[in-house]
Amino acid sequence: MLMRLSDVDRMFNAMDLLQSRMNRMSSDFGRFRTASPGETAPYSSPATNLYDAGGHLEMKMEVPGISKEDLSIKVQGNYLEVSGKQKADKPEGYTPHRVERGLSSFTRSFTLPTEVDSSKVEAQLSKGLLTIVMPKSEAAQPKQIAIK
Protein backbone atom coordinates (compact mmCIF):
# COMPACT_ATOMS: atom_id res chain seq x y z
CA MET A 1 0.00 0.00 0.00
CA LEU A 2 2.73 2.43 1.03
CA MET A 3 4.75 1.55 -2.00
CA ARG A 4 1.90 2.25 -4.32
CA LEU A 5 1.15 5.62 -2.71
CA SER A 6 4.71 6.77 -3.18
CA ASP A 7 4.47 5.77 -6.82
CA VAL A 8 1.42 7.94 -7.19
CA ASP A 9 3.23 10.81 -5.50
CA ARG A 10 6.14 10.42 -7.81
CA MET A 11 3.86 10.49 -10.80
CA PHE A 12 2.22 13.68 -9.62
CA ASN A 13 5.59 15.27 -8.99
CA ALA A 14 6.60 14.44 -12.53
CA MET A 15 3.41 15.99 -13.80
CA ASP A 16 4.02 19.15 -11.77
CA LEU A 17 7.46 19.39 -13.27
CA LEU A 18 6.04 19.02 -16.74
CA GLN A 19 3.42 21.63 -15.97
CA SER A 20 6.00 24.15 -14.77
CA ARG A 21 8.08 23.52 -17.88
CA MET A 22 5.05 24.14 -20.06
CA ASN A 23 4.30 27.35 -18.17
CA ARG A 24 7.80 28.53 -18.76
CA MET A 25 7.49 27.71 -22.44
CA SER A 26 4.30 29.65 -22.81
CA SER A 27 5.77 32.63 -20.97
CA ASP A 28 8.59 32.61 -23.48
CA PHE A 29 6.10 32.41 -26.26
CA GLY A 30 4.48 35.64 -25.17
CA ARG A 31 7.64 37.62 -25.61
CA PHE A 32 7.57 37.33 -29.35
CA ARG A 33 8.87 40.78 -29.95
CA THR A 34 11.91 40.95 -27.70
CA ALA A 35 12.93 37.32 -27.93
CA SER A 36 14.69 37.35 -31.24
CA PRO A 37 17.56 39.73 -31.84
CA GLY A 38 18.73 40.08 -35.38
CA GLU A 39 15.29 39.46 -36.69
CA THR A 40 13.73 42.68 -37.82
CA ALA A 41 9.99 42.59 -37.64
CA PRO A 42 8.79 45.90 -39.03
CA TYR A 43 5.12 45.00 -38.83
CA SER A 44 5.07 43.62 -35.34
CA SER A 45 2.91 45.45 -32.86
CA PRO A 46 4.24 46.30 -29.42
CA ALA A 47 3.82 43.93 -26.51
CA THR A 48 1.30 44.90 -23.86
CA ASN A 49 0.06 43.94 -20.43
CA LEU A 50 -3.42 44.59 -19.15
CA TYR A 51 -4.31 44.72 -15.47
CA ASP A 52 -7.63 44.97 -13.73
CA ALA A 53 -7.24 46.92 -10.48
CA GLY A 54 -10.89 46.93 -9.43
CA GLY A 55 -11.78 50.55 -10.08
CA HIS A 56 -9.66 50.95 -13.17
CA LEU A 57 -7.90 49.08 -15.93
CA GLU A 58 -4.22 49.63 -16.49
CA MET A 59 -2.33 48.92 -19.67
CA LYS A 60 1.42 48.81 -20.12
CA MET A 61 2.94 48.93 -23.56
CA GLU A 62 6.51 48.71 -24.75
CA VAL A 63 7.27 51.54 -27.19
CA PRO A 64 11.04 52.14 -27.23
CA GLY A 65 12.25 55.09 -29.27
CA ILE A 66 8.85 56.69 -29.69
CA SER A 67 8.34 60.12 -28.20
CA LYS A 68 5.03 61.09 -26.66
CA GLU A 69 4.24 63.45 -29.54
CA ASP A 70 4.25 60.48 -31.89
CA LEU A 71 1.78 58.38 -29.94
CA SER A 72 -1.95 58.63 -30.16
CA ILE A 73 -4.50 56.95 -27.96
CA LYS A 74 -8.20 56.68 -28.67
CA VAL A 75 -10.79 55.38 -26.27
CA GLN A 76 -14.47 54.84 -26.77
CA GLY A 77 -16.63 52.67 -24.57
CA ASN A 78 -14.67 49.45 -24.30
CA TYR A 79 -12.56 50.06 -27.37
CA LEU A 80 -8.97 51.22 -27.10
CA GLU A 81 -6.69 52.06 -29.97
CA VAL A 82 -3.04 52.99 -29.66
CA SER A 83 -1.00 54.03 -32.63
CA GLY A 84 2.51 55.33 -32.91
CA LYS A 85 5.00 56.36 -35.46
CA GLN A 86 8.67 55.87 -34.97
CA LYS A 87 10.72 58.73 -36.30
CA ALA A 88 13.79 57.85 -38.26
CA ASP A 89 16.43 58.31 -35.59
CA LYS A 90 19.30 57.41 -37.85
CA PRO A 91 22.04 59.88 -37.06
CA GLU A 92 23.29 62.13 -39.83
CA GLY A 93 26.61 61.38 -41.43
CA TYR A 94 26.98 57.88 -40.04
CA THR A 95 27.38 54.64 -41.95
CA PRO A 96 25.08 51.91 -40.68
CA HIS A 97 26.77 48.62 -39.85
CA ARG A 98 23.85 46.83 -38.41
CA VAL A 99 20.21 47.80 -38.23
CA GLU A 100 18.04 45.54 -36.13
CA ARG A 101 15.65 48.01 -34.60
CA GLY A 102 12.61 48.17 -36.74
CA LEU A 103 11.60 51.58 -37.96
CA SER A 104 7.89 51.29 -38.08
CA SER A 105 4.52 52.69 -37.35
CA PHE A 106 1.93 50.57 -35.67
CA THR A 107 -1.70 50.56 -34.67
CA ARG A 108 -3.01 48.15 -32.14
CA SER A 109 -6.59 48.02 -30.99
CA PHE A 110 -8.12 46.24 -28.04
CA THR A 111 -11.52 45.30 -26.79
CA LEU A 112 -11.43 46.01 -23.09
CA PRO A 113 -13.27 43.71 -20.70
CA THR A 114 -15.38 46.60 -19.39
CA GLU A 115 -16.50 50.03 -20.50
CA VAL A 116 -14.20 52.82 -19.37
CA ASP A 117 -14.81 56.49 -18.66
CA SER A 118 -13.01 58.02 -21.61
CA SER A 119 -12.88 61.50 -20.05
CA LYS A 120 -10.78 60.26 -17.15
CA VAL A 121 -8.26 58.15 -19.03
CA GLU A 122 -4.68 59.12 -18.34
CA ALA A 123 -1.52 58.06 -20.08
CA GLN A 124 2.10 58.38 -19.14
CA LEU A 125 5.25 57.61 -21.07
CA SER A 126 8.41 56.75 -19.19
CA LYS A 127 11.60 55.20 -20.53
CA GLY A 128 9.90 53.61 -23.49
CA LEU A 129 7.05 52.17 -21.45
CA LEU A 130 3.59 53.61 -21.94
CA THR A 131 1.13 53.29 -19.07
CA ILE A 132 -2.54 53.96 -19.67
CA VAL A 133 -4.85 54.16 -16.67
CA MET A 134 -8.51 53.84 -17.56
CA PRO A 135 -11.10 54.27 -14.81
CA LYS A 136 -14.05 51.98 -15.37
CA SER A 137 -17.36 53.56 -16.21
CA GLU A 138 -19.93 53.95 -13.44
CA ALA A 139 -21.84 50.82 -14.42
CA ALA A 140 -18.70 48.68 -14.40
CA GLN A 141 -17.38 49.91 -11.06
CA PRO A 142 -17.26 47.30 -8.33
CA LYS A 143 -19.93 47.92 -5.72
CA GLN A 144 -19.90 47.27 -2.06
CA ILE A 145 -23.00 45.37 -1.06
CA ALA A 146 -24.15 46.02 2.49
CA ILE A 147 -25.48 42.94 4.25
CA LYS A 148 -28.67 43.64 6.10
Partner: protein, 128 residues
Protein backbone atom coordinates in the same frame (compact mmCIF):
# COMPACT_ATOMS: atom_id res chain seq x y z
CA UNK B 1 -0.24 6.77 6.35
CA UNK B 2 -1.55 10.03 7.74
CA UNK B 3 1.99 11.00 8.53
CA UNK B 4 2.99 10.33 4.98
CA UNK B 5 0.47 12.69 3.44
CA UNK B 6 1.69 15.33 5.88
CA UNK B 7 5.17 14.88 4.58
CA UNK B 8 4.06 15.24 0.99
CA UNK B 9 2.05 18.33 1.81
CA UNK B 10 4.89 20.12 3.52
CA UNK B 11 7.06 19.35 0.53
CA UNK B 12 4.55 21.03 -1.74
CA UNK B 13 4.39 24.06 0.52
CA UNK B 14 8.06 24.85 0.14
CA UNK B 15 8.14 28.21 -1.61
CA UNK B 16 9.57 28.25 -5.09
CA UNK B 17 13.17 29.22 -5.38
CA UNK B 18 13.86 32.79 -6.48
CA UNK B 19 12.00 33.63 -9.62
CA UNK B 20 14.27 33.48 -12.57
CA UNK B 21 14.33 36.47 -14.87
CA UNK B 22 14.66 35.52 -18.50
CA UNK B 23 17.70 36.93 -20.25
CA UNK B 24 17.10 38.56 -23.57
CA UNK B 25 19.42 40.11 -26.13
CA UNK B 26 18.25 43.64 -26.94
CA UNK B 27 18.08 44.75 -30.56
CA UNK B 28 20.76 47.21 -31.60
CA UNK B 29 21.65 49.52 -34.41
CA UNK B 30 25.34 50.16 -35.00
CA UNK B 31 26.54 53.25 -36.80
CA UNK B 32 29.99 54.56 -37.50
CA UNK B 33 31.50 57.79 -38.67
CA UNK B 34 35.02 59.13 -38.72
CA UNK B 35 35.01 60.06 -35.07
CA UNK B 36 33.07 57.38 -33.31
CA UNK B 37 31.01 54.24 -33.30
CA UNK B 38 27.44 54.80 -32.16
CA UNK B 39 25.14 52.14 -30.77
CA UNK B 40 21.38 52.44 -30.34
CA UNK B 41 20.07 49.78 -28.02
CA UNK B 42 16.36 49.24 -27.32
CA UNK B 43 15.96 48.74 -23.58
CA UNK B 44 12.44 49.83 -22.75
CA UNK B 45 11.67 50.12 -19.07
CA UNK B 46 15.25 49.92 -17.83
CA UNK B 47 16.19 52.53 -15.23
CA UNK B 48 19.37 54.45 -15.95
CA UNK B 49 20.97 53.11 -12.79
CA UNK B 50 20.18 49.52 -13.71
CA UNK B 51 22.39 49.58 -16.79
CA UNK B 52 25.83 48.06 -16.63
CA UNK B 53 28.47 48.75 -19.20
CA UNK B 54 31.82 47.05 -19.31
CA UNK B 55 34.59 47.43 -21.80
CA UNK B 56 37.44 45.09 -21.25
CA UNK B 57 40.05 43.83 -23.61
CA UNK B 58 38.11 44.54 -26.75
CA UNK B 59 34.86 43.16 -25.39
CA UNK B 60 31.90 45.37 -24.65
CA UNK B 61 29.21 43.93 -22.41
CA UNK B 62 25.88 45.58 -21.96
CA UNK B 63 23.39 44.62 -19.33
CA UNK B 64 20.21 45.92 -17.80
CA UNK B 65 17.24 44.68 -15.83
CA UNK B 66 13.76 45.98 -16.18
CA UNK B 67 10.86 45.27 -13.89
CA UNK B 68 7.28 45.63 -14.94
CA UNK B 69 5.05 46.64 -12.07
CA UNK B 70 1.37 46.63 -12.76
CA UNK B 71 -1.50 47.30 -10.40
CA UNK B 72 -4.12 44.66 -10.03
CA UNK B 73 -4.79 41.29 -11.57
CA UNK B 74 -3.21 40.65 -14.92
CA UNK B 75 -5.73 39.95 -17.66
CA UNK B 76 -2.96 39.28 -20.14
CA UNK B 77 0.78 39.57 -19.94
CA UNK B 78 3.05 39.81 -22.93
CA UNK B 79 5.59 41.92 -21.11
CA UNK B 80 7.59 40.37 -18.33
CA UNK B 81 10.56 41.26 -16.19
CA UNK B 82 13.56 40.86 -18.38
CA UNK B 83 17.30 40.98 -18.11
CA UNK B 84 18.87 42.47 -21.20
CA UNK B 85 22.29 41.13 -22.01
CA UNK B 86 24.50 41.43 -25.00
CA UNK B 87 28.17 41.66 -25.74
CA UNK B 88 30.13 42.88 -28.72
CA UNK B 89 33.68 42.86 -29.90
CA UNK B 90 34.95 46.39 -30.22
CA UNK B 91 38.16 47.44 -31.89
CA UNK B 92 41.07 48.21 -29.59
CA UNK B 93 41.16 51.69 -31.07
CA UNK B 94 38.25 52.85 -28.96
CA UNK B 95 39.12 55.54 -26.48
CA UNK B 96 37.63 53.88 -23.42
CA UNK B 97 37.96 56.95 -21.22
CA UNK B 98 35.72 59.00 -23.46
CA UNK B 99 32.87 56.54 -23.87
CA UNK B 100 29.57 58.20 -23.10
CA UNK B 101 25.98 57.06 -23.02
CA UNK B 102 22.54 58.52 -22.60
CA UNK B 103 19.04 57.12 -22.33
CA UNK B 104 16.25 58.49 -24.47
CA UNK B 105 12.71 57.08 -24.60
CA UNK B 106 13.95 53.66 -23.55
CA UNK B 107 16.73 53.63 -26.10
CA UNK B 108 20.33 53.63 -24.95
CA UNK B 109 22.62 55.79 -27.09
CA UNK B 110 26.19 54.68 -26.63
CA UNK B 111 29.04 56.70 -28.08
CA UNK B 112 32.35 54.95 -28.54
CA UNK B 113 34.86 57.57 -29.69
CA UNK B 114 37.83 56.44 -31.72
CA UNK B 115 41.25 57.29 -30.41
CA UNK B 116 43.16 59.97 -32.22
CA UNK B 117 45.51 57.49 -33.84
CA UNK B 118 42.63 55.59 -35.40
CA UNK B 119 40.97 58.54 -37.05
CA UNK B 120 41.50 58.94 -40.75
CA UNK B 121 43.87 61.72 -41.55
CA UNK B 122 43.88 63.89 -44.56
CA UNK B 123 47.27 63.73 -46.19
CA UNK B 124 48.29 66.76 -47.98
CA UNK B 125 50.04 66.18 -51.27
CA UNK B 126 52.95 68.44 -51.63
CA UNK B 127 53.77 69.74 -54.99
CA UNK B 128 57.36 69.75 -55.86
Amino acid sequence: MGERTDLVKTENNVPERSREIPAVAPVVDIYENEDEILLYVDMPGVEKDDITLNIDNGKLSLGGVRYISGNGAALWEELVDVEYQRSFSVPQTIDVDKVSAEMQDGVLHLHLPKSEAAKPRQIEIKST
